[in-house]
Symmetry: C2
């Protein structure tokens, strides 16, 4: 993950409905489309009781641009109609960070 002086994190926390039709495929597609967007830095996600997905962006413009991407708009609508009973989006400025250990080359 590239790390410029200042960047943003979009925290997406969610609860899914029982309907998982097409969800994984769409999630994978969206990750692939996001990667090609201007200002994209990286992506992390994990799911247990709730899902947490965090995408990292160079600036607020890049976040706005991604939010308005047509494929992403379609996914957002499907998310609200089919897959999510709840979600929350937080747009955050990363002010400080530090790291321990080695993530490993394969990750």
């Amino acid at each position: 993950m590239q790390n410029t002086n200042s960047y943003y994190a979009v925290i997406f926390t969610s609860k899914n409905t029982d309907n998982t039709d097409g969800y994984s495929k769409m999630a994978e597609q969206m990750e692939n489309v996001a990667k090609k967007q201007y200002g994209y830095i990286g992506f992390e996600s994990a799911k247990e009781t709730i899902g947490i997905s965090i995408s990292y962006w160079e600036n607020l413009d890049a976040i706005k641009n991604w939010k308005e991407n047509s494929a992403h708009l379609f996914a957002q609508e499907k998310g609200k109609s089919d897959w999510y009973s709840w979600y929350k989006v937080r747009i955050c400025k990363v002010e400080r960070e530090y790291e321990f250990g080695d993530l490993g080359l394969s990750n």
Copy 2:
């Protein structure tokens, strides 16, 4: 989760080692101790390939105070010696947020 005008998110992403002895118990203890700290707002976590834990705090002082809590310092040392091969901590200011649907009373 209480929501004041401005608040912070601490994003903790991690990869675990194969050693899980005492890990879940410690994680549960830390969540209970954190809840009693000044400025604590809430906590969310999920784990798959990586673990993502996000704690929410009223201000940077509260985050510093929690980082220096003695029980938490002990847990941090155990984390580095035993449980984590990698982690990254990002301290973020939540600048904007929005929500969809209903999380449900039981959550």
